[in-house]
């Protein structure tokens, strides 16, 4: 087993405020790694630093042996690290199929000139992207909604579409930012099973930020706990649950840590 992602001494300051300081952790290839912590712990900041949405103040992000810190987001995705957003983020006026095509085009690029004046290579690219989409829609159970306008879907479906767009870029590592937030318990359970299926079907490694402890404890192989911008614990779900520092950080806040 080897680490697909190594976060080394990652830090971010907003003026005088240290949102994240000296965070180290690894995500193993083929596993689901959870990133948890109370509100304001720096989880989303950490995500934004890894994906290039924010520039890190310190540290390195090693993805498959290459430092990707400082790359713009589209370059990070190109290297095989895709993300989803906390809220349901889609292209609201496009169809579900079109939404996913836009992600899939990353792996089917054409030259500048061909993209302007068209021609065979541009047509082939779109066709190839559309083929990828069929697979992804099937995996996320969105096929029935293929021609629906994304903005008209139910919230849970929109969140799934967000995952589908990320998946269409054919990532090796998928970062999910609170995929279960706003879902009802039944949907959360379904999402959990869907994710484990996806992981095997698309040979994914997953890094997931989530507040829903039951989901995290069920699906994660490894968990990293952040608190006040620092890592306070990591280990298997069983170990993390028993860690006194984690219990202290969560005390009173999260009753469903059993």
């Amino acid at each position: 087993m080897s680490a697909i992602l190594k976060v080394e001494g990652l830090g971010k300051r907003f003026g005088g405020l240290a949102a994240l300081s000296d965070v180290h952790f690894e995500a193993e290839e083929g596993q689901i790694t959870g990133l948890i912590g109370p509100n304001g712990a720096g989880k989303t900041t950490c995500f934004n630093l890894i994906t290039g949405t924010l520039a890190a103040s310190a540290g390195r992000v090693m993805f498959r042996g290459e430092n990707i810190a400082g790359l713009p987001p589209h370059r990070v995705v190109e290297r095989g690290l895709a993300r989803t957003f906390q809220s349901a983020t889609t292209f609201p006026t496009a169809s579900v199929r079109e939404n996913i095509v836009r992600g899939a085009l990353l792996r089917h690029q054409v030259g500048t000139l061909a993209s302007i004046i068209g021609g065979g290579s541009a047509r082939d690219a779109v066709r190839a992207a559309e083929e990828t989409v069929v697979d992804v829609m099937d995996a996320l159970e969105l096929t029935a909604y293929a021609d629906r306008e994304a903005g008209t879907l139910a919230y849970g479906h929109q969140k799934r579409l967000g995952v589908a767009i990320g998946l269409a870029t054919r990532p090796a590592l998928l970062l999910l930012d609170e995929p279960a937030a706003g879902l009802n318990p039944e949907e959360v359970d379904r999402f959990g099973s869907m994710l484990t299926t996806l992981q095997q079907r698309f040979h994914l490694s997953v890094l997931i930020v989530e507040h829903h402890m039951r989901l995290i404890m069920r699906i994660c192989d490894h968990i990293v706990v952040l608190h006040h911008g620092e890592k306070i614990a990591e280990g298997s779900p069983g170990m993390v649950q028993k860690d006194p520092r984690v219990i202290e950080a969560y005390l009173g806040a999260e009753h469903h840590v059993e």
Partner: protein, 324 residues
């Protein structure tokens, strides 16, 4: 809600666009039926208006509104006219050069400016349009100053001069068709997908691997290149240009054409130009009310048809259905 409720519209849309194409073709033939030089002139101006607005639509496609579009028409016009009159180049060299040069200017200023979005981009392009006019007035040896450049030779293709308005009209119509074909190709291909993605959700587009900054700049370059292309034809048709021709008012008129026609539809610029370019000609008798009428039209469209006149058929059937 049933999942299969969305299968019928495409067929109707296909019929609709066929009908629309037929209407446009008939309208395009009107000047030949009447044989009036005046009608040919209006038809040429409609084509030029639609062409420039199509350029603006390309920029709007990535969610940006340029108020410097008139200046880019001007850059193209001056490029072509100076190449033809000063360097004795043929028009057919000047025309593509105008598009390329306008596009190149757009590329250079777009790289820093497109970081701004929304109203900030609108304001900076507004300032740039004024800057273009003032700078051109400062260099009368190039621009002809406030008296402009008159007596610009007519459009000539391989030594064949287009003397008649009807000939210019055929040429302009073909060029408009070429521009529309280009936009249609982009729309169907990967680049159009990128443009729409950037317009709809910039953060998601970037996270889906779309280089949003480069994509926006590409739209700006293509759109401004089309503006320059239009400017070259316009200059050689009208025969006179001055910095004032390409002042702020021209930019605003393109924005109005685009908004009234429909910002996101391929046919939007064409519909807008068909409706708005002839309007002042038929309102000659009420010239003092012209701007008021423009304003009222704009307000009505924005209030009832925010997607422009191209959305009218869809709206009508929607109203009819809800009335049933």
């Amino acid at each position: 809600m049933s999942d299969t409720s969305v299968t019928s519209p495409p067929k109707r849309a296909g019929l609709g666009s066929l009908g629309f194409a037929l209407c446009v073709a008939l309208l395009a033939l009107v000047p030949w039926f009447t044989g009036s030089v005046f009608h040919f002139h209006i038809a040429i101006m409609v084509c030029l208006g639609a062409m420039a607005a199509a350029g603006l639509a390309t920029i709007a496609w990535v969610g940006q509104l340029s108020l410097a579009h008139g200046a880019f028409v001007g850059i193209g016009a001056y490029t072509c006219v100076l190449l033809v009159t000063r360097l004795d180049m043929p028009f057919l060299v000047g025309l593509p050069a105008a598009a390329v040069f306008s596009g190149a200017v757009a590329y250079i200023i777009g790289t820093p400016l497109l970081r701004l979005r929304g109203v900030y981009f609108v304001l900076i392009t507004f300032a740039l349009n004024e800057l273009f006019r003032l700078v051109m007035l400062e260099f009368p040896s190039v621009s002809g100053g406030s008296s402009g450049i008159a007596g610009i030779p007519k459009i000539s293709l391989f030594g064949w001069e287009l003397r008649d308005q009807s000939q210019v009209y055929v040429f302009t119509l073909l060029m408009l068709a070429a521009v529309m074909a280009l936009l249609w190709t982009i729309r169907r291909g990967p680049l159009g997908r990128w443009f729409s993605a950037v317009e709809e959700n910039m953060a998601l587009a970037e996270s889906s691997g779309i280089p949003t900054a480069r994509t926006q700049n590409m739209a700006f370059v293509i759109g401004s290149g089309i503006a320059g292309f239009t400017g070259a034809i316009m200059a050689h048709y009208i025969g006179f240009i001055s910095p004032v021709t390409f002042a702020f008012q021209l930019s605003v008129s393109y924005v109005i054409i685009l908004v009234v026609g429909g910002r996101l539809a391929l046919a939007g610029p064409l519909v807008g130009a068909l409706f708005l370019v002839p309007l002042p000609e038929f309102l000659r008798s009420a010239q003092e009310y012209q701007h008021i009428i423009y304003g009222v039209v704009l307000i009505i469209v924005l209030r009832f048809l925010p997607a422009g006149l191209t959305a009218l058929p869809g709206k009508l059937s929607q109203w009819r259905r809800s009335g049933e």
